[in-house]
Subunit: 244 residues, 2 copies
């Protein structure tokens, strides 16, 4: 049974301001919640679940508060159109400085604003073993419920940093910086990268001038048909699959 | 000025049953509407637009009925969260038999149910010059407004067919059939295809047994990290970029 104040409190975590004030975020559905409980068990705060979910995990150790809720209550706290058995509240990841990029390939996102795209890009990074994503300040919030859901659980395994992107790129003096653009070197003809920073630009405007100034190599996905562009997450997947 | 009955009529096109009864679909926003007006001008039925859109196209020949609407009226007929200047009603593409696959690479979609994924896959096909997509009957509807919007205009340039997929594959006796799977030949090591059918499976269940029976070669995107899977549209983009 959920109190009215608890219900309001959980609902409020759908908004960035409240999430950041409380330093919390929510994740939903058995798959994503199970992955986060496994990858970052120390960050779980509270779990709200249908009896079926609770019974299904009866053999697992429980180190967190679980509140049994009805289907109706779950629908009221859920951010999903189709609520799915369980909603968990997690503490946000501890802030950590951006590590050195020496010997690694990192993704940098310049104003990726669609939450679905950001989540999908985090999932792509996780698939290809990229552990660091550097976002400009105006990218979508990694704790936005739509981002969390579209990572499909990868959010606990990829570090996402928010920073002044042109300034950070300027500080990476030895790094080679690659930018996805409509014209540039064909990625299908390039060698795999051992290290470097790959920049993906905004869904409609591409890469901003201040960021483009720091770019060493423009790269492109050769077009054979007539579409004007590719979805930003799809382009990221294609580029990473060729270069990493 | 929109009559009440017109308003209801346009709203009803958000539903598949009404779209198919009327053999119509809607497209929204200046970019997508402009591309469809250019690619399939013979299919436009009616256009509803803000004065700004009408003025912006004052120098273009107009062969269709344009109704000027207010921002408020547009919001009421729009399927978008943020209505965008213009909504156009188009006739559905004329039915045409699936052409021979000889000498071409085609995509076949087995139960791709998310409209955003289907639209994004149509856009990918258009980028890479794939002109035919064969869908199982239970794929999302190509005329679903979310599909149309996520094609970003590519829907007028790629033919999408709905058919009994296992039966159609069985009829393609000479074709090589490739299926995206979690285990198979690494696409990064394969040669480009000159012809063949590439099957993409359902978002959570993958390829159905009846379709898998018709497959000659399983292909895969090598995983280096820990994500369990990739988004279906991202996987399609990666596979097509390597093989086509």
């Amino acid at each position: 049974m959920l109190s009215k104040s608890k219900l309001k409190y959980i609902q409020s975590l759908g908004q960035k301001k409240h999430r950041d004030d409380e330093r919390l975020f929510i994740a939903e559905g058995p798959k994503i919640v199970a992955e986060l409980l496994q990858d970052v068990p120390e960050l779980v705060s509270e779990v709200f679940a249908l009896p079926s979910w609770i019974e299904g995990r009866a053999d697992q150790p429980v180190s967190y508060a679980v509140t049994e809720v009805s289907t109706d209550e779950l629908a009221r706290i859920s951010q999903l159109q189709t609520p799915n058995q369980v909603l968990a509240v997690f503490r946000q990841f501890p802030a950590s400085p951006i590590p050195s990029m020496k010997g690694t390939v990192a993704l940098a996102l310049d104003t990726i604003q669609d939450p679905g795209n950001l989540g999908t890009i985090i999932r792509i990074a996780d698939w290809f073993g990229i552990s660091q994503i550097i976002c400009s300040q105006d990218c979508a919030d990694q704790y936005n419920p739509k981002v969390v859901q579209s990572t499909m659980g990868s959010i606990g395994r990829v570090q996402v940093h928010y920073t002044d992107l042109p300034a950070w790129l300027a500080s990476q003096k030895d790094a080679r910086v690659y930018a996805a653009a409509l014209e540039g070197q064909d990625i299908a003809q390039m060698k795999k990268l051992n290290e470097g920073i790959i920049i993906i630009g905004n869904e409609s405007k591409g890469i901003s001038p201040a960021v483009m100034e720091k770019v060493n190599v423009r790269i492109t996905i050769l077009r054979k048909g007539k579409a004007e562009s590719l979805n930003a997450a799809v382009a990221t997947g294609i580029i990473v699959s060729h270069l990493v």
